[in-house]
Every structure is written in C-alpha cells, then in structure tokens.
C-alpha cells in the first residue's frame, strides 16, 4: 500500500517536470542525484536539489531527535541539517571534512541532509523503478521510500524528500504537499 502511493507520486513528479525542465532528456526519465551513507546508496530527484556543499559545523538545536543535527547558515538563511545515517537508525555521523550536505528545496522550505559522499547523477526511467518490497513497517519506515533502482548491480534507494521531511519535523510540515515547482529550481 505504501509502495503504490509512493509510485503514483513519482509518476506525477515525472509528468510535471520531465518534459519541461530536463529538456533533451527522455520525457519518461527523471534525473536523480545519488549519494552514499555507509555502504548504502540513495537517490533524490535532481529537481529538488538546490546545491551540494561541504560540511560546515552546525549549531545544535535543543531537545530534538539525534537525526536533527542542528542548523547552519546558508548565505544568510538558517537551514536545518538532517543526518540521514541517524535517520535510518545508524547513529549520528562522525563528520569529517569530506562529508557533504545536500541542500534540498521542499515546498517553500530549504533544508540540508548530511550524507557521506555524492556518488552519481543518474537518468532513471520510470519503468525501471521497482516498488520497495513489502517491508516490515515496524522495522523500516517505508513512507519516504519512493522506489528502488538497480544500476551496475548496485541498488539505489530513491527517497521521496517531501515525505522524508514530512515524517520528521512537525505537524505543520505534513500539510505541505506540493513538490517544488520546476521553475523555482531552474
């Protein structure tokens, strides 16, 4: 059930953005930025990615789960940083200079996710995306997984950033349904 909603979501994303923003690319393909956290590889739709930047020390926020690393100053605006490893139960990331923050635009909001390294940019056809298997929702929160994709025998877990953050922060985020409009990002 989760997987079907996630898939339809991807479909609508592709439909609204594919032709206009990617231009020459196949209308049925979306581009994904993929990155690694430990041995696992994740991908987010490139249209949601605003920039990728090196790690800068964060200021901690009080009384929040460990996956909320804190806030940083992104050229004058203050954005929260989420630790993807901690989010998936791997404990807080021991940051080094080589860690990167993927800055993502979700609706009106800008936020960063802390990952180990950027790995690739992939053009992924919608047909090639497999639904996540029927996982034990008690073990893995599948809400924010939009599908799985295989490339060179690697499995890339595609994340629905909007849901990822909607699950995280607060009730007011959950009301933000719309993915960023393509023109906002271009």
């Amino acid at each position: 059930m989760h997987s079907s909603t996630a898939l339809s979501n991807i479909g609508s994303t592709g439909g609204s953005t594919g032709g206009a923003a990617i231009g020459a690319a196949n209308a049925h393909e979306d581009q994904y930025v993929t990155f690694t956290v430990g041995t696992e590889e994740y991908g987010v739709n490139i249209l949601a990615v605003r920039e990728i930047r090196g790690w800068t020390p964060e200021s901690r926020l009080p009384n929040l789960p460990d996956y909320v690393r804190g806030v940083i100053n992104l050229r004058g605006i203050i954005i929260p940083i989420f630790d993807l490893r901690a989010r998936f139960g791997g404990g807080a990331t021991e940051v080094t200079k080589r860690h990167v923050v993927v800055v993502i635009q979700v609706g009106e909001r800008t936020r960063g996710i802390l990952v180990d390294a950027i790995s690739d940019i992939l053009a992924i056809s919608q047909d090639a995306i497999r639904p996540p298997p029927d996982l034990d929702t008690g073990l893995v929160d599948t809400e924010y997984l939009s599908g799985l994709y295989t490339v060179d025998n690697r499995m890339v877990t595609l994340l629905d950033v909007q849901r990822l953050f909607a699950v995280e922060a607060s009730e007011e985020d959950a009301t933000q349904k719309a993915l960023p409009a393509p023109d906002r990002l271009s």
Binding site: S59, R60, P62, N63, V71, I78, P80, R109
Partner: protein
Amino acid sequence: MEDLSRFKQTYFDESAELLAVAEAGLLRLTPGTADADEVNAIFRAVHSIKGGGGAFGFTDLVAFAHEFETVMDLVRNDAIPITTELVDTLIRANDVLGTMLGYARDEAPVPPGTGDAVADALRRHQSAPPPATDAGPPHNDLDAAFAAAHAAETTHPDDEDDEAGIFGDAMAAILDARNPSAAAAGRQRWTVVFRPRPDLLLSGNEPAFMLRALRRLGEAEVECHLDRLPGLAELDAEQLHLSWTITLLTGPSVDRERIADVFEFVADECDVTITADAPPPAVPDAAAPLPDALRSPSGPSVPAAAAPPPPPATPEPASRPADPAAPRAKPAENGAAQHAGLTSHTIRVDLDKIDRLVNMVGEMVITQAMIAEHVRELPPGEFQELLEGLEQLAQHTRELRESVMSIRAQPVSSVFSRMPRLVRELAGGLGKEVQLVTSGETTEVDKTVVENLVDPLTHMIRNSIDHGLETPEEREAAGKPRTGTVTLSAQHRSGRIVIEVADDGRGINRGRVLAKAVEKGLVQPGASLSDEEIDHLIFLPGFSTAEKVSNVSGRGVGMDVVRRNITSLGGRIGVYSSPGEGSRFVLSLPLTLAVLDGMVISVGEERFVLPLTNIVESLRPKPSDLHGLVNRCDVMMARGEYVRLVHLNRLFGIPGATEDATRALVVLVETEEGARLGLVVDEVLGQQQVVIKSLEANFRRLDGVAAATILGDGRVALILDVAGLRDMSRQGGSAPPRAAAALPAPEPAAV
C-alpha cells in the same frame, strides 16, 4: 493641522496617480469604440479627485471636476458619442485638473478663469456635440500655453526649489494666452534686454543666476537670442554668445532700480536695457526654455523653442485649427511632463521589496562582522590599508543600514493623531477637563513598531485620564488649574525611541496600590517595598486600582497588557510618579525589529543570544547563596529575593557545560510578565547587535527559542526566549507550545 496636511499629501499623491490613470485611459479612447471598463476607470479617477477635493474644500477644483465628471458620466452612459474632439477636450480637462491640483498643493489660490475655456467646452459637450470648428482659436492658444508650461517645467529638472516659481511662470503664460489684459491689470510689465559681453563668463559671472534673480521679482518670461551664436567650428566654450529678452510681470513694489540691481555686478560687462510698460509678448516665442537655450549652443539654426520635448502646437498656431490630431499627439509626446502641476515626490514601494533590502543589508552586516573578526587575527601593522578599507566598509555598512531602516521608518504622528479624539471622548465621559499636549510627532520609528503602539498608548492615555487626573473640583481644591494636562511626547535617545505619557494629576497612590496588591495576593502582607517597587506593581497582571470599574479603564487589563505589548516589541516601560504632581510613563523602544541588542553567552560548545531587554544582571553566586529546593530545583538568593535557577545545559541537553553554579555564571533575567529566574551559563561573551533570523522559515519553532541569528564567525546562534525557558523549566523540560514567542516576528521574508 499637521494631521490634515498629512492626509492632503496622500490625496495629492493619489490624485497624481489617478490623473495618470485617467490620461492613459483617455489616450486609448478612440471614436466609436468605447471600452466600458476604460471609460469607467476614467470616470472613477475623476470622481475620486473630485470627492477628495471636496473634503479639503478646493471649491474651484471641485467645480471643474464636476463638469469633467458629468461629461464622463454621459460618455459612460453612451449619451454622447466619443469623438476625437471630445477626447481632446477631455485630455485638456485632465490637464486643467492637474494644474488645479498643483495650485491646491502649493496652497495658492486658483487664478480666476483657470480652465474656463475647457470647462466651457465640457459644458458644450454636455448639451450637444459642438461643431468641429468650435475647437479653434481658444483651443490653440491654450495648447500653446500648456506647451509652454510643459517646456518650462520639463527643462528645469535641476531647479527643484524654484519649481513653484516656474510653475507660476507657466501659469502666467496660460493666463496671458487666454486674457492678456486681465492678467496684466494692476501690475507692471517690464521688458529687460540683457546682452552680456562675450567675456562675461571669464569673470566668474553666471547669467543663469541673474535670470533666476529676475524671476524672483515677479513672473518672468525669458526669450533667448541665438543670433550671435557662431557655428560649432568657431564656438568657444568660454565665450558667451547668448543674449536674452526677459518680460517681467511684477507687483507694484518692484521698481526699475530693483531690476537694475540684479545686474549690479556685471554692469560693465553687459548691455542692459529696462523698459517699462512694454506690450505683451507673443506667447509662443516666450516659451523658449531657459536652461535649454544655455545648454544647446549647437548652432544658430536651432531655435530654442524646438528643444525637446517639442510643443507641437507652438510654431504655427494659426495653421492648425482644423487639425484635431495635433493636440492629441501632445500628451503622448510629453509623457511624464503632462502633470507638471502635480509632480509626485514620493513613490509607492511594495513592502516586500523593502524587506528584501533590509534582509540583504542584514547579510552585509553579518559579512562585515565576519571579515572584521578574521582581520583581527592578522599580524598587526602589516595590513594597514586593508584595515583602513575595512574601517570604511564598516562605516558605510552602518550608514547603509540606517538608510534602509529609515525607509521602513514612519513618524509616530500616525498614532499620536488618534489620541486627541480619545482624550476628548474620555474627558467628556468622565466629566474631566483635559488638555492633550503632544510633541515629537515627527519622530520616526519602524513601521511595525508604529502599528503596535496604538493599543499601548491608548491604554496609557486612558489610564492617565481615568486614574491620574483628578476631577476639576478636586484640582481646584488642590490649587491646580481645572484643566488637567496629559503630555504625549516622542524623541530619539541613544538609538532608541523614547515615548512619554505624562499627566499632572494626583500621582500614584502608593498606599492604595500596596493595599490592593496585598489584597490580591500579589505581595506578601508586611513586605517592605520601595516607592519605585510599589509604582511598578501596577504592571502586574490583574491589577487595577480604579475604585469603581468604569467602562473607560476596563477591568484591570490595563498596564500589564501595555507592558506585554511593549516588551514584545523589544521595549521597556518604566513609571515615575510623585504624589500630587503627576505620573510619567516612559516607553523605550528599539528603532527597528530587524536587529536586536543581545548578550552572547556560551554553554558548553554552544553560544546563545539573550535579548538585552530581558537581562537584569549577571553574577557569580557564592555557595551560601545557593539552596536546594525539594528535588533538583535550585534556588538562589539574589538581592534579597529567591530566584529559581535554570540550568541551560540541562534544559537543552548540552554536554560539556559547567554544572556547578558557583563556578558558572548566573544571568538574572526577567520575563515580560516580570517573573525572574537565574539562567546558569558558562560564560558571558559580550554585548552585540544581532540580526534576527527566522528559524521557522525552514524548520519550525522550538521551545525556549525566539529566533536565530548569525554571529561574526558565520555560525548560527539561537536567540533565547526567556518566558519560554521559564515554562520549560517549570514543566521539567517539555513545555506546551506557547501561543507566541517573546520576540516579534523575525525578518519578514527569508531570502
């Protein structure tokens, strides 16, 4: 009085816009194809100008606008056909309206006869479409005059202070065109021929100054003669080749000598002839714009009157009567010059744009602080120029910030102006005689602050009149004038705005206040309080001393609300009272909400900013000052009062902080409700102005955190919400969401 002029200014600004709307609409009107929306828009514009004019008593303007409006109404109802001739008349009517508004703005009487010809034309349209030839002679004279007006106005952009004078000239031209003899009646007309020698400029004289001086004597029409102007090849820029004929219309006080005085210093370097009672000059020729003539020595073949913008009807008035297209083309060509009579000196800007600017300047302040911090680490003496440059940058940044903030600033008069009516109503309702004295209405402060001052000031003035002032009988018995005085004043003082509400009433009755406070359980019976402390009891929630609750002062929701409103603006309130002489409430507010005076503190590795307005003092407690209360809750004796200690590291879960309060620092803070607590922190790093940044824009609100800011090293620091911290600490760390944080809404729009 000042109040009315403020509204007037708004009226003139709006009228200028409406005129532009009407004109744009009129220019789009084409015979036979009336767009109902367009016609309605023009009608509404004229109607609005008329309505506003009526409110200010501009009778001539209203009478004229009425004719204009009537015709537009007929057009609107398809009662009369749209003809080219009608549109011309309407455009001219629009011009006349602008001219009249110009007079009204300058508080000059509208000269009799202004716009009569156009008004007549309008009236003719109201009855029947006039024959085409009717638009003949008066039409063109007026056009010529208007052209002169526009030319004179548009070519004097650098003469702002003389604008009224130029406008006067233009109007004189208009008057002359219509009725030369009437305009000249009772005045003296002079013709001054001013023919300077070519080397006049070499002696440092400037003919423009003399022409300007002449213009101050009366209404001057200046004609520039280019006959001595050589071709470009022979032109010597340091030689003067021009001469002028000035027709001067003066009052009786100006005699030949006064005119001659103008040329006193150049008498040897020019030929001047002054002739009285010369015949009126031909208007079109007189339209030669002065500075253009001075600036365009491009060749003798270029007549000054043809300088841009060319007034189309000017050169051959007699040959154009049957050509209705000519006057129509004029407004389009002259464009912005159309409303020479009502130039707007203000622009309307979307608030978002200003806020974006404010934000960007905030960034600059941070960046500049960042650079300054890095530079401090450089070896001294080696980068002298860099340091000087940075010093200048800091200076400019500060000035830029002040300028930008001043755009958002508004005079407090918009709030003060509401008070006289309130005073009047209250005095009537309470049977008191009250006089309100205001001062410093022009003091400017941030728009948001101004808007949020209305309620507190209303409360305070109510309070002063209801509680402070005695009845006239009581005042007489006390040897005071029957009429009580409430003073409302505003002034800038050391980067803040200070607003005072003072009355000369009975002062705070401390005995009654104390008794009341004890009765309400706000103060322990038998407690000894200083006079000042007693005075400040009136700010406690639920406190009211009115012996009978009146519908004026409400039910004890007075001063505590005032205090809360003021502190939510980052302000402070104090009261000073002396029995029998009156009370004085003093508000001190920041000039802007975008920056905040804060104290940077550190806890473990983290740094926070405490708003300075919350801080009472900071101290290092002695072990004997500290006491444990029940379990884990520490209290401390500070200035004879027990305050609860709040360990910020425990509350926020910060590792590595000093646990022992005797080795840490206690910052004594006070919430807006007046509750005190002691924040245990590691260090107080210093005071700093910080730019308020929203945490909610990209994340969400957090308990105990009002907003965030960026410190000099580029790191984010949270601005603490003292009242929120108090709530959190009372509930063991997890407070329910408070309705509103202590700080005002931070920066309006994140970049």
